[in-house]
Chain length 448, copies 2
Amino acid sequence: MMAESQHHVVIVGGGFGGLYAAKALRKAPVKVTLIDQRNFHLFQPLLYQVATGTLSPADISSPLRGILSKHANTQVLMDKVTEIDPQQQQITLIHQTLSYDTLIVATGVRHHYFGNAHWQDFAPGLKTVEDALELRRRIFLAFEAAEREPDPVRRRALLTFVIVGGGPTGVELAGAIAELAFKTLPQDFRNINTQEAQVLLLEGLDRVLPPYPPELSAKAAAYLRQMGVTVRTQTRVTHVDSHGVTVEFSADQPQAQAIPAHTILWAAGVQASPLGQQLAERTGAELDRVGRVKVSPHLNIPGYENLYVIGDLAHVAGQNSPPLPGVAPVAVQEGKYVAKQIQARLQGQALAPFQYKDVGSLAVIGQNAAVVDFSGFKFTGIAAWLIWVFAHIYYLIEFDNKLIVMLQWGWNYFTRQRGARLITHPAVPEQVEHPSERAVAKTPTSVP
Amino acid sequence: MMAESQHHVVIVGGGFGGLYAAKALRKAPVKVTLIDQRNFHLFQPLLYQVATGTLSPADISSPLRGILSKHANTQVLMDKVTEIDPQQQQITLIHQTLSYDTLIVATGVRHHYFGNAHWQDFAPGLKTVEDALELRRRIFLAFEAAEREPDPVRRRALLTFVIVGGGPTGVELAGAIAELAFKTLPQDFRNINTQEAQVLLLEGLDRVLPPYPPELSAKAAAYLRQMGVTVRTQTRVTHVDSHGVTVEFSADQPQAQAIPAHTILWAAGVQASPLGQQLAERTGAELDRVGRVKVSPHLNIPGYENLYVIGDLAHVAGQNSPPLPGVAPVAVQEGKYVAKQIQARLQGQALAPFQYKDVGSLAVIGQNAAVVDFSGFKFTGIAAWLIWVFAHIYYLIEFDNKLIVMLQWGWNYFTRQRGARLITHPAVPEQVEHPSERAVAKTPTSVP
């Protein structure tokens, strides 16, 4: 049982930041409450493998209660935070109110449509298990509808997959869909040739993987093209609807083009969780352009020593200039740092400011094809792919029975099968709208 | 490519009956079209393990296209049959119309509420992947809500799980939920003792597993009680709502009792798919009490030699008296028989009537606890459990990478972990209604 007088650390969010903070507090003389809307921790870096039918949601998730069940000082609450009161040191949940001595907010980001929220229905993003299952449903339904479609123009649109955004998620999705269409599925259909599918990766900047070193961007683009992906950089999406996308390319002489496409996937931008906004209003903290909270070098909100923001929700100024990227290793290190910092403060000490130990950047494009940047050491090809595999297994293995994932990968690697390509929610095949009709009729030459 | 002049066999339904018919026609000089609303075959006997968080849907499903991809004479259509015209030998789907030379209808059954369809919202059944995920969501949300609930009466209702129906599905669900509450979860909660959960199995007849030999029913009931399940036979459910169930027991002196319960699972009855009714209207075929189509000893509809009904949708009179049970081995054998029968008919020959080769009855109650009846040889305990494990793996192994299931089981067996206990669809914790309130207030002593 937990003593009421103990220092109470409340952690909001069971992603990489929040979970690793909780884990690191296991032996600390504090009482810990971890709150999440979901009952599981999600290994988000592999979510695209759920979306493309390789893994099941449970393969990349672990129940939070299970992970923390042996932490005697920790309780898990499945609930949602609606209000934070930094003055009273209280948070309001849907089902109760809690007081804290120290609060760690780690509620992450959602995808973002740059003021075009209505695009979401036509171009869903990939952040949650439900997102991944919806993408999976759309991708595999498109092939099914194409198989039934006699009209070649409509069939073409049904077999066109547009991925908006050339960051790691977009690159990984494009590679996985290309593998599906060009390697896994051809034998399974009778009326269509899935190798005629078009996989388009659209990026607004001048190269894919913009945060990576340019050589790796070039290598990644080359891999993608080898695999059959059409990579279009300096291409801005100006319109999205059920018929496809309209893009504008070439910055000097903008030209608009409509691309009829049944399946559009959004990997183009993120926006901070709304709790960031609330924290800013109540503490005077600054937010950056995407709503992340600017924190001190010790990861707390300036003026609030017991209020930390970590993970994707935090804007941590980099040593040189760009803020730390929203990736799992940053969040993990921040979680561990804050746990140490809390213990130091309880003993009247202070830690040096947080310093991110760069573990490198990784992106996988397909079997044997990946790019890795290990603080200057760059790998590509099968070496990079193996590093990617083992880096992920290293993390997954901490949780539960995730060795299974390795076996599943091994099996998929040798068979090119995708056992998890189920179409669910809803079950019954709907009347598929025909994206090509309107889009072809109105092909614009310029969009205002 | 398939010659248009070839004999066209259309199979409706990719369950055990339809799929095994298609598989057995691989080398036959016919063109085969398999139609299913879903893009995967589901190994329904293990669905309860999805509902209770042990397996993922993809572990017990295989894409139909993948299974049949090497069958050059076979095409798969994901579509839904709306009309069958036995005179014109045509079927209408949502997306097209097809002509057939031979039709095999194998669309199975759904659960059935005996004229109380509105009970479905409060007591969902278990036939589809979506059903299983909904059950999983309800079961694990109930524990989460109990953990937050200060009121002991409400907590009690939240920790009460009622399973209606003591057939194999009900018995397996009750056993799995008891294992969860009493063995897997206790360490994971801080405010509740999950061992105080009540798991009630209600059966209207005088014993569980009514179709099995009485000794095995007795043994199964004993196992269930050992595991902490409250087994109540001769107990009829007369009312279901969001607060719980009302039951009537003791046939001579009916007494009603309200049982406040947050989670009610329906495993009490089935009803034939609506295509059975349509077939009856258009061919004059007879239906049985639950809507199954009475077929000839050759499994066709009397008067329609090229129209077969197999699997759970068929009522096949048994050698002695009760019709064959709606289980996988019956459907598989019927599918294979019809495939042979079609080939014989094309050669002007005729097969002897269908005869079911009894492979025994199986039900698993928990780890090391199962009952098996192998045509007279009865097993219980760990021997029966091992037979059950291997019988299922034998079937699963035909498909894809389902060896993974065995590894998952092995892991679960030794760790008692349940990696797949995710709460999904919808994501955010809702306000949970409090079942005890109304039910306790109005506890009836008799229900009309």
